[in-house]
Structures are given as C-alpha cells and as structure tokens.
Symmetry: D2
C-alpha cells in the first residue's frame, strides 16, 4: 500500500480553507498534515475555527495546532486559501523553497508562467511549470492556480464548444453568497434581494476565461480568441453559481451537436485517473427549468457542471444556462483536482500514486 502525501493548508480557518479540509477528509492520496493561519496561529484548530459548513470540523483536524503563516512547512504539497494580499509574497516563497503550491487565490493567476489549470480543459498548460521553474530558478517547487469560481461554469461549458469556433459571449451570472467568503455578504443586503454587482468578478471572468480556454504554444499560453461580456449579480443562494450564456459559434452547429459535445466531453485522458474527478465533467439536463443551484450543485459530489436550456438566441445564435458548485468545483475541489493531475503527471516529487503507474 502506498503511503499518503502530507499536505499543508494555508488560510485553514477561512471558508475555503474549511472546504479543503472537508474535501480532503478520507482522500486516497493526500493527508492533511499542517494547518496554517494568521490570526488563528498558535491555537487549536477546533477552537480557532468558526466552522461555517455543515456539522462540525472532522475529528482528524480539531486538535491540530494552527501554524503561523511564515512557518517552515514540512508538507511537499501546499493548498492555499489565502486572501490575495497574503498570497502575493508567501506563495512564490513556498514554491521557491521546493513546495508545490496549488492556490485558489487570485494573486498569481494571470502571471504568464503560472498555469491557470483545469484538468478537463487545459491539462496541457501543466507544461508552464517547466517554464516557471526555468524562469524563477525553482527546482521541485511550483505554483499552480485555479480560476475564479464564476469563471468555472462558463469555461466548463465553453471548452467543448471550441471545436465550433466561439466568437462572442454575453454572460450574466447569478452567484451564491458563499462566493464572498465569511462573513462575506451581510444578510441585510441579500435576503429577499439581488445585488447586481460583484466586485471584480466581471473583469476576472473576461481575462481568466480566455487564458483557460487558450492553448500552450512552446512556452506560453495563447489566449482563446473570443469577445466576452460579463455581468455578475449576487442572489440569496447558499452555494452554486449559475450563468446565463448567449454565445456566437462560427460553425453553426445544430443543438444536438452541441449537446453531444457536452455529454461526450472527457478532456485529457489523465482525468479519468483522478480520484476527485466526477464520472463525467458535464451533464446536460433536459428539464426546461434546470439547472438550479440548490438541486444540481452537488452533482458528481459537487465536481460536475450541469447545463440546460440550450435554445436559439436571436442575437448571438445560441443560449444556455450552466451551473457549478462554487466552493467545490469552483474553489477547493478544483485545487485538489489540479494537485491530483500534478501527481499523475510526475510533478509531485517523490510521490507517485498507483493510478499513475497505468499511464502509457
């Protein structure tokens, strides 16, 4: 039996940090060994955390003592749920010390040599790690980011449509409150209300989507060539970001061809080996009133994106709705999936999961 790889979680008491802990409980390859925080440093995790997920923190972590942010870490693999400001310096520093850092923070997402990785749609971007190591003089370390949570359902739905040559996209999101972290959105602002603005998400959706859908040529990612217009709104939903998308596809496929592209989509062959990957990345729901955040966010244990309502758009050609669980598929779950891809791809030093042995 293989032993598990020790991992550290930065920002362990925050909402995303909690989700990392929850999702890693019982993980077949990784084992939470170190919890790192700022204001909670030195405290027992069970005392420091205000657990905002269901139930209580797992017994396996409650007695761990939270380490300070600048601690030397033993874990080869580090998951970061740090706020942007804290991530800017600390994440590259850890990578330079040899740690592989999979981060949910936005700080380094758009750096040219940092892969904005999503295994199903751009596993080839992993090659940027070699560029990064060369650029920065890192040896075993690496820095890999996952996207903003609202970009997720958009790029998941668009990835299989690249074959139809995407030209223009107009997207309006209806985002869950958990996307703002904790305490995040004040209840007085959102109960029985909609806030038609989410700070900085509209910009992130534009720049991150074209990077993620782009291809790696030599040592850089060439952005996907499409025009994207985004509107981000907040609704009183706990988890699950819904996007309403109009899209212009140059090759004018039929609706059936589009649905077949979604339903048949698999992405890189390595994905099938990853323990956190859902049975399939996308499902198309035939009911006219789906996907719905509360009913569909947990598909594939929160890792599957649900699509529905494909129909004609008189302006751009095609319209549909897509939904992902924002704190699983759109945050911690994606980071973990990225780390699993790194594992089977040989980027985690001295760790080779059994699954990877089967690789050609």
């Amino acid at each position: 039996m293989h032993s598990k790889l020790d991992v550290a979680i930065l920002g362990a008491t925050g909402a995303v940090g909690q989700r990392f802990i929850q999702l890693l409980e019982g993980h077949p390859w990784f084992r939470v060994a170190e919890l790192v925080g700022k204001s909670s440093a030195g405290k027992r995790y069970g005392d420091a955390v205000n657990w905002v997920l269901d139930g209580n923190p797992p017994a396996s972590v409650v007695d761990m003592i939270v380490k300070p942010l600048d601690s030397e870490l033993d874990s080869p693999l580090v998951f970061s749920a740090l706020p942007k400001e804290a991530a800017v310096d600390r994440e590259p520093q850890l990578a330079s010390e040899g740690h592989v850092v999979c981060t949910n923070a936005s700080a380094h997402r758009m750096a040219a040599d940092v892969p904005l990785l999503l295994p199903e749609i751009n596993a080839d971007h992993i090659g940027l790690i070699d560029v990064q190591r060369a650029n920065r003089g890192w040896t075993t370390g690496a820095l890999v980011a996952n996207s903003n949570c609202t970009v997720m359902p958009l790029v998941m739905a668009l990835a299989p449509l690249r074959q139809f040559d995407i030209q223009r996209v107009v997207v309006v999101s209806e985002q869950a409150i958990s996307g703002a972290g904790y305490p995040g959105v004040a209840s007085l602002d959102i109960i029985a209300n909609v806030i038609p603005y989410v700070p900085s998400d509209e910009e992130k959706m534009v720049i991150e989507s074209v990077k993620m859908l782009g291809h790696l040529y030599d040592d850089r990612v060439v952005e996907y060539d499409m025009v994207v217009s985004t509107t981000c709104t907040r609704v009183p939903v706990i988890d699950g970001h819904l996007v309403n998308v109009s899209v212009d596809l140059a090759s004018k496929p039929s609706n059936n061809e589009i649905i077949a592209a979604w339903e048949g989509y698999k992405g890189d062959e390595r994905v099938a080996m990853l323990p956190s990957a859902p049975e399939k990345p996308l499902q198309y729901l035939s009911q006219i009133d789906r996907p719905q955040p509360r009913r569909d966010r947990n598909a594939g244990k929160g890792m599957m994106t649900s699509i529905g309502r494909l129909r004609e758009c008189p302006v751009l050609g095609y319209k549909f709705a897509a939904l992902s669980h924002n704190t699983i598929r759109g945050a911690a779950g994606s980071s973990i999936l990225n780390a699993e891809l790194l594992a089977v791809s040989g980027y985690l030093p001295n760790f080779q999961p059994e699954a990877a042995v089967a690789l050609p």
Copy 2:
C-alpha cells in the same frame, strides 16, 4: 368638487386584484364600487379573500359582496385582473356593453387594434381605441392592455434610447415571486434557489416590447425594429423585477448622453397630469451596486423605474440594469395609470377629471 368615477375590479380576490384595491384606496378620481370574482362570488370580500399584501384589506371593501363573473356591471370603468382564459371572452363582452376595460391579462395584448399602453412611452397608441371601436362596432366601450410585468423595466429603459436607434438587445431577468401570483411559486422550489425559466415570459418580452416601443401610423402600430433575446429567471425576491440588459445603439452615444436621456425623459405631456404618475418615470442611480429589488422597487410609490450600472459591453456596446416594481408599475399600477390617461384624453364617457381641464 368632482364626484369620483365608479370602477369594478375583475378577479378581485387574486394577488393582482388585491393590488388594484390597495392602489385605488384614496384615489382622487376613481372609487371601487364593484368587486367581481369567480369562486368567491356571493361572498363578503373580507371572508373570500386571502389577503397576501401587507396588513389587511381596506375597510372600504371588506363588506362588499363579490359579484359573479357574468354579472351586469354598473361601473363605467373596469379593471381586469382575470386569468387569461377567463379574460378571453369576458373582457371584449364588457367593452361591447360600453365599459372601458383596462386589463392586466395577456389575452388581448397582441390584438392589432388593442393598445398595449404605457403612458410615458406610447401615449399615441391610445388612438387604436378609435380603430377598435370602428372595427368592433363598440361605442363608449374600449379595451386597453398593459404589458407583462417583466417587459416593463426593459421598455421603460429602452424608450428614451429610441433616439439612438436600438439595434439588438440581450436581456436576462431576475424576477420576483409575486410575478407568478398566488399561491404561485412553491417555497420548496425557490427558497435559497434560482429557477432559470419562467413559463412564457421570454416570448412575451420579445413580442410585447417591439409593439410597445413602436409607433402608431394611421390605424396600426408598426413594431419597433430591433432584435431581442430574452432569458427569464426566478429568484427568491418578494417584489421587483430586475433586468440585466446589453444593447446595441447604432448612433453610439456617450454614456453621459444616455444617462441624460433617461434622467430627462418625460414622455407625453399628459403624463404630468396623471395622479399615479411618479415625479419622473426613470431615475439613474450612481451607486455601483444598484438598482436592487428590495431597496429600489418602491421609488415613486412603486411607479418609478430605476436604472444603474451603465457601462461598456464588449459585444453589444452598452450594458445596464433596470428595475421596476412588478405588481405596481408592472401590473395594477400601470392599468390605473392607463385609465388616468384615458380620463384626461376624453375616453371615459361622462367623466372629466379637473386636471384635464387644463389641457391645451
């Protein structure tokens, strides 16, 4: 002192019927004289109604006995909150008997000789009444409709932009539950959830908007020439429909010109005389996170439309959000405003409000 005009309310116990009663309480020109219903016929209103608005029904109506749907009515003016199926036959029948019927039902909205009236934006359509009377052999009677509640914020916001030559519109709505009437949306479907589909509203938004924004030439309304793509979603909000709009304007105005067009918009001069008209039809909110349904729906006693977030759309040119109170501006309040316009325009037989005397 002028005496008030008697009005009847069809479908008086339903959610929209209740709103008619609430808004007509203390109205300077009209007086609720007859309440009409189907299953509630023969009952005291206070016993028959399940009042879903705030507080209790006004004392002035609780002891009225609800009349059957096929009753002969004494009131010259009739407001209809009937469901579509009941409206199909009964509304024209009442008009043929000489009643002026202002209806919120969708049954006759798209008939070529029925004005889909919104005083601020197409008061000239009132001329269709003459066509209607000629066509149908009606004398004093008339049938005037107001639009679907979700069309309202869209056409209110677009009307002042006609000067910039509207080409294409992509709109995504976030609609309140009250738009579905009572009992309407089951709480199990909508609490902490979004339903990405509202039956038939997407089609209505398309066909009603181009009719409303069109102009009357001779005896018919020529639809406004634009392409509209609509997505309608339901959110857990009590009242207030928000629309997220991308629009292509041929003349490429500056943002300031657009805001000036909204803020300065007045519509037909008769509107200023109407007691239910807000101080101005539209307000532009400068805060980046407005309009919000719960905070802005009651602007102008629920009759003002609020707009915000005007900015560049990389695909269509311009983007903004607009909001109207769906059961006031988008339903009963609009019907009442229409009736007021009919009054000052001489279409209510034997009734001339003082205000109208001042007309040139």
Copy 3:
C-alpha cells in the same frame, strides 16, 4: 448472500414518497419493487414525478410504471406516504391482505392497537402488533405508524429524561417548509417571514408525544403522564424542525446528568443492528448557537437528533433546543427504521436479515 425484500411505496410521487425512494436506494435489506400512486397511475415514474429533492430520481426507478392505488401488490412490505384521507381505508386493507404496512400517514397513529413506533424509545410497543392481529383477524399483515415530524425532536430529547420524571413541557417549534409537502407553503407566504401557526401540528404533538413515551402494559400503551403545551410556527428553512423546550423534571437532575443521559442514550439493543440507525440517536452540541437546521439536520445521515443550549428555565426548571431532519428522521427515514426493527424482530414473514441471526 441474502436476497433483498421487495417493498412497495404508496404515494410514490409525493415529497415523502420521493424521500422513501432516495433513502432506499442501495438499502442492504430492502429493494423498491413497486411504486403506487393515484393521479400518476399508469405513467412511467420518471415522467410522472416532479422530483423536489436534489438531483434527479435514481435510475433504478425512473422506468417503473406507477401502479394504481387499488392494485394488488406483490411486495410483502409496504411503505405508505399517502395523504391521510387515502390512507384511512387502504392501509388496513393492505394489512388485512397480509402486507406489513409502515406508514407515515397520520390516519391510524392514535388507534389503540397501532404502534406509534420509534425504535430507540419504544421498541416494546412492537408488541401491539400481536394485539392488532388478534383484534382484526390479520395473520401476516400489520400496520405500524411513525410520528408527526415535529413530535420527533421533542420525543427523542425527552425519552432519556423519563428517568427524571417529566412533569410539564412548554415547546415552541420553528418548522421547515418541507414539512408541508409539495407544493405546500406558498413562497409569497414564507420568504422573509414567519407564520405563527401550522395546521393541526400543535394537537398532534400533544397526543402523539404521550403515546410514544408511554409503556406497553399487557395489551395497551399507557400514555406517559405529563402536561404538554405546544406552539408550532413555520420559518423559511428547507429541512429541519427545531424545537425550543422548557421542561419540569421532578427529580431535579444536574445539567451534567441530563447531558450524560442524552449522550449515553442507546435505547433498545436491537437498534444497534438496524442499518438506518445512526451511530447514536442523540448528540449534544456544546456551541452556544447550535443546533441549527441547515448545519445540523444531516447529522447521522439525517437520522441523529441534535440538542443544545441546556440551561436553567426560571419557570419550569430546564430549557434546551432540539433538532431533527423532518423528512428523514421525522418521516421516511423513521418508517424505514421501523421496518428494520420489524425485520430483526421477526415480523416480516419469510425475511430474516443476517443481522438478526446474532440476536440472543
């Protein structure tokens, strides 16, 4: 390997019927073989059902054809999610034909010879089945009820306190909308609101709690001797009924003795063998703001009752809050647990689960 027992579900398309299907998916002893409904009879289940739980109905049932309510059934075990009126005649009829009927309906709960069974607290009541069979001339058939969903957290919390001699109880509930079924509570009534009344639940809580906490003497259950005052309110929560309880205990235990009674409570020894039984029936949460419906309802897969906030009540002596998942522990899950108890107790003819072999 033992083969599974076929079960039928009455009222299979309703909200509770759906929960039966969901909870029985993958059950180690039972297999859903027949679905029965009224308006859905003759239809494919996948077409007939408006699935209100998360995701979609299990693949194992979507192609089943729903049988009419008066069908002859093959399954020895029948779960009933019928409305009260339909249950009155049909449930005893099925029992008389030899089926064991575990019902969530209220129709027969208070019949003297029908056990209102809750394995952890009154497994001895199962003896009423023999009385019932003798009374009614039934042979292999039986009729076993579970309680109202709001009674559940109350009796679960009070059962271990019987040793302290319960005198008086004042309880105020805050109940989830799913307790009203589907479509149930209109969203216009409950979003951002509280309804301080739940039809008939206050009466049910009084009469069912004293029956459930009572003991079987010879051939009848003698009600537990306590005075109960109930107030039932509805709140905008999806699942999970919370009760705020003040209680007078004659023997004046310390708070620690009460918590020990809860934490150590096991109930009848057979419970440990039942696959749907949680690890322990009750958990006491030490955080001052728990239990909370959304965070604690899924404890023990929705079968564990959570208690918190034990403190002095200046009027009755002790106060606490308790919470159960109303459609799992308080409805379908309880019926299934009851059937499991019948199985290990030899009341399911020709079916003996492996677990039962170990019984002394």
Copy 4:
C-alpha cells in the same frame, strides 16, 4: 407657527441612526440639525453612509457634514444610536451639559435613576428625571432610555394584563436580522436557517421587562413581580420581532376579557397627543395565522404592536403571539415617541409643542 426643535443624532451612519433620520423626515416638532459619528466624522453624510434602508437618504441630510463624537452640540435634544461602549461616557456627559438625551443604547437602561420609558405603559416613570437631576446635579439635561427591541412586543402585550396579575411568563422569540445592526448577521449563517441564540437578549428581556412594567414609588421604580423565562432565536426575516408567549394570570380572566384589555388599551392620556403614537398601541388579529412579521410589522407606521392566537396553555394558562417592528417601535421610533412625551410633559427646555397647550 411654532418653530421646530433642533435635534442631533449620535451614531448617525449606523442602521439605527439611519432609521432615526428616516423617521424624523417631516416630523412636525423636531428637525435634524446635527449628525454625529465616529469613523464618519468630517465626511459629507451622503458619502459616509452605507444606507441600508429602502431608497436613498433624504435630501435634507445628504450634504450635512458628520461631526466628531466629542463635538460640542447645539441641539437641545439628542437621539443616541451609539454602540454601548461609546454610549457609556458620552451620553451622561451630554446630559450634564444640559442636553436631553433619548437613547437606544443599552448602556444606562438599568441605572436606577434612568427611566426605561415606554409612553403607553409607564409614562409615570418620567418622574425619574427629577430624581436623576437631583442625584447627578443636572439642570436642563436628562437621560432617557428605550428598551431592547425584543422586549418591546412582550411588554406591550403584557402591560394591559397587569390588571390580571401576571405570575409567570415563558417566551420564545423569532427575531429579525435587522436587530443585529449592520453588517450584523452574516448571510451564510442565516439564509434558510435558524440560529437558536441571540447574544445577551435573553438576559435583557428578563431585567428590562420587569423594570418597564413596574411602578414608580417615590423616587424609584419597583420592579413588576413576575418570573420570566426567555429563549431568543434569529430567523431570516428583515424586520419584525415575533414572540411566542405563555403566561400565567392569577385572576383567570376569560379570553374575551384579555382581548378587550388589549383592544381597549390606551395608556397614559398624553400619548394621544404624540405625533408618532399609532391610533392605538395594540391590535388583536383574529386570523389564526397572524401576526406575521412581513405582513404586520408596518401596522400603525411600524408603531403598533399586533397580537394574535390567544388560546389556552395547558401549562401556564394562556398562550399568544405578539409582534413589533424592531427598528421602529423597538428602537428609533420608540426613542422619538419618548422625546415627544418629554416635550408635552415640559421636559424639553424652551420647547412647548402646540399639542401640549391642550393639556389639562
């Protein structure tokens, strides 16, 4: 025409401060002349405030510059919406300088010489001002408090029952989120959830209710002699605190006598002269499912308390539900009503409203 009295508002940018401004807009006696804040000092109010009520701040205040907390104030009357810590020193200081301070803060409520005033139920407590001035050497200044927002519906409902000799009370509240101020309750904590604990409110309800219902003998208030048990819970409601009350009345009145006591209750005769007083302090609603927060909180412009569901309690004798608007009747509105009572009672130096002239 009388000129209006200048008032200052301490803590003007907070949620309660905003409510003061909203309620004083157009007040017949008082005029907002000074706004005072801590972090907002020196800023234009319109820039400093995050307005959480409907619409936008009134035009009359947006251009005022917020004064620092330690400013010398010109207004004879001061309304305080300060947090407790800030109120401790500043409020008595202002009173010592000659200002009459009506405070919503809890800091001084329980001081023996500070009236915890509620005009309808204990107008006689106003006499404590003379005691206070004597004790503290104040001349024209005074410090008058209003109660915690959750105590309000309880004491309003109990006050008319004092004639029946109240013995014991068990109360469970369901409190709106606005009671926690802004940002207050995180949406992640309360959407589709109940929190069964509200910090410090249970204690406040006990101690404040017996003080408020007590009588002034000579120079001190003697607490009302009853035993109160309180449970405070938070629900996802915007405004409106509901209390579920069981009460033991020694004289065993009939339900009709109790309802007559509520409906006929007027309180002190001066109340009829106060502009913010509702037509009557209490209304009894006959519908079985009322009062409801969203539908009844605005009765009497938010100043009337609504009661319903009076019925037998098997444990304590009587049960009912009561509701008050927590940020109007339970906070700013009560402070203003208190100030109006001071005005007609001659406690506002150099200010005598016309109404007071009519006093006997």
